[in-house]
C-alpha cells in the first residue's frame, strides 16, 4: 500500500472516530437510559413477576402497535 492510500485510510478512520465520539456525546445519555431501563424492566419481569405465579393473559381488544 502506498503512502497516499495509507493516508486516506487514516483520514477516513479519523473521521469515523470523530463522528462516533460526537454521536455518543449527543445521543449517549438517551441510549444508555433506554438500555438500562429496559434491562431493569426485563429483570423485574423475569425475577419477580414470573415467580409470583402471575400468568400472562393476552389483552382482548384495543391493542394497537405504534
Amino acid at each position: 500500500m502506498g503512502d497516499e492510500k495509507k493516508f486516506r485510510a487514516l483520514l477516513v478512520s479519523a473521521a469515523l472516530l470523530i463522528a462516533c465520539i460526537f454521536s455518543y456525546n449527543i445521543f449517549g445519555e438517551y441510549l444508555r437510559a433506554d438500555i438500562f431501563e429496559y434491562i431493569k424492566r426485563r429483570a423485574y419481569y423475569e425475577n419477580v413477576l414470573k415467580n409470583k405465579g402471575l400468568d400472562l393473559r393476552e389483552g382482548m381488544h384495543w391493542r394497537k402497535k405504534q
Partner: protein
C-alpha cells in the same frame, strides 16, 4: 427495545415500552403484545349483601359474590381500599380463581349476582368479561362498582353482559378529578350516558368530602346533570367521608352537609336519594307517588320490602329498578 403498545382500555391510554407496566399496574407490554397480569387472580373474594355495593334498587336482600384484583386506573387520595387498589399484583396475595370457578362458587353459595368491585374492575377487564359472559349462561346477574374511567369501545362490548353498575361520580369539577384522583371528569360522564343507553341499571355514589366537593351549588349542578342526562329515576347515594389514606387531615363529613346535599338533589328532581356511611335516616326507599315506605333498611340489612312485582305494594306505581 421492541415494539411500543398503547393500551386503549381506559382514557389514560398508557403508551408502554417493552416490559413496561401500565399506570393501573395490571397490564404489561411484552414484545409488542399487551397482556393482563391479573386474569383469574383475585386478591379479594367475598360474599356481600348487595346493599353494600351500594345497590338499593337491584335485587334487595340478596347475596352478591364479590371479586377484585389489585390495581386501579385512578389514584384517589381518599381511597378506602388503597391497600389493594394502589398495590401491584405481585405485592398482594391472590387466589387462582378462573371464571368457571367464580360462577361455580357463586352458585354454590346461593348468590344471585356476581359483583366486580372493591378496586376498579376496568383493570381486570378480560377476567370480568369472561366471567360475566359465563355467569349469564347460569342465570346469574352481573354488577360492577366502578369509577367509570373506561373508554367507550371496551365499555360497549362489556355492557350487554352487565346488568347493573354503581358508578362513583366523585365530584362535578375537572379540577377535583385531576388534583385528587389523577383523572378527568368528562370520560366518567360519558360512561354514565353510555351505560344508560345500553340499558344497564345505574346507581350513582358521591362521596362528600369536606372542603373538597361539598359545595351545594356544585352538588346541585351535578344532580341537575343527572336529571337531564340520565333521568329522575337514577338512585343517588351521598356517602359520608371518613379521614383515610392521604386525606387524614380532613374531618368526617358533618351529617348536616349530607342532608343539605340530599335536599338539593331532591329539589333538582331526583326521586331516590340516599345517605350512606351514616347511621340514621336516608337509607329507606319510599314510593315517589304515594310516599309509603317500600324498603326499610338498617345498615346493609333489609327489614321489610313492600315492593310487589316491581310495584308499590300500596298504590301500585311502578318502582324503577330490578326487583326479581
Amino acid at each position: 427495545m421492541g415494539d411500543k403498545v398503547r393500551c386503549e382500555l381506559c382514557p389514560t391510554e398508557c403508551e408502554l415500552d417493552n416490559y413496561q407496566i401500565g399506570g393501573c399496574r395490571t397490564r404489561i407490554n411484552k414484545s409488542g403484545v399487551l397482556y393482563s397480569l391479573v386474569y383469574g387472580k383475585p386478591c379479594s373474594v367475598a360474599i356481600d349483601p348487595i346493599e353494600k355495593k351500594p345497590f338499593y334498587h337491584f335485587l334487595p336482600a340478596t347475596a352478591a359474590f364479590s371479586i377484585a384484583t389489585a390495581g386501579c386506573v385512578l389514584d384517589c387520595k381518599f381511597c378506602q381500599n388503597y391497600q389493594i387498589s394502589q398495590a401491584r399484583p405481585e405485592e398482594v396475595d391472590h387466589k387462582d380463581l378462573p371464571p368457571a370457578d367464580v360462577v361455580r362458587q357463586a352458585l354454590y353459595y346461593g348468590c344471585r349476582s356476581i359483583t366486580y368491585t372493591y378496586t376498579e374492575p376496568t383493570v381486570f377487564y378480560e377476567y370480568m368479561f369472561d366471567t360475566a359472559k359465563l355467569a349469564r349462561d347460569f342465570k346469574l346477574k352481573n354488577t360492577m362498582h366502578t369509577c367509570g374511567y373506561i373508554n367507550s369501545r371496551p365499555l360497549r362490548e362489556l355492557a350487554p353482559f352487565m346488568d347493573a353498575a354503581d358508578v362513583d361520580l366523585k365530584a362535578f369539577t375537572e379540577d377535583f378529578y385531576s388534583r385528587i384522583c389523577g383523572g378527568r371528569l368528562r370520560p366518567v360522564l360519558d360512561t354514565l350516558v353510555e351505560l344508560k343507553k345500553a340499558g344497564v341499571w345505574i346507581e350513582i355514589t358521591n362521596l362528600v368530602i369536606p372542603t373538597l366537593n361539598d359545595d351545594i351549588k356544585k352538588i346541585s349542578e351535578m344532580t341537575a346533570w343527572i336529571v337531564n342526562n340520565l333521568g329522575r329515576d337514577v338512585p343517588l347515594h351521598f356517602s359520608r367521608f371518613f379521614p383515610y389514606y392521604k386525606l387524614k387531615n380532613l374531618p368526617p363529613t358533618p351529617p348536616g352537609t349530607l342532608s343539605d346535599a340530599r335536599k338539593a338533589a331532591l329539589d333538582s328532581g331526583l326521586r331516590y336519594v340516599y345517605i350512606g356511611n351514616l347511621a340514621g335516616g336516608g337509607q329507606n326507599t319510599s314510593c315517589h307517588k304515594c310516599g309509603r315506605l317500600l324498603v326499610e333498611r338498617s345498615g346493609f340489612r333489609v327489614n321489610q320490602n313492600n315492593i310487589i312485582n316491581g310495584r308499590c305494594g300500596s298504590c301500585g306505581t311502578g318502582i324503577p329498578g330490578v326487583w326479581g
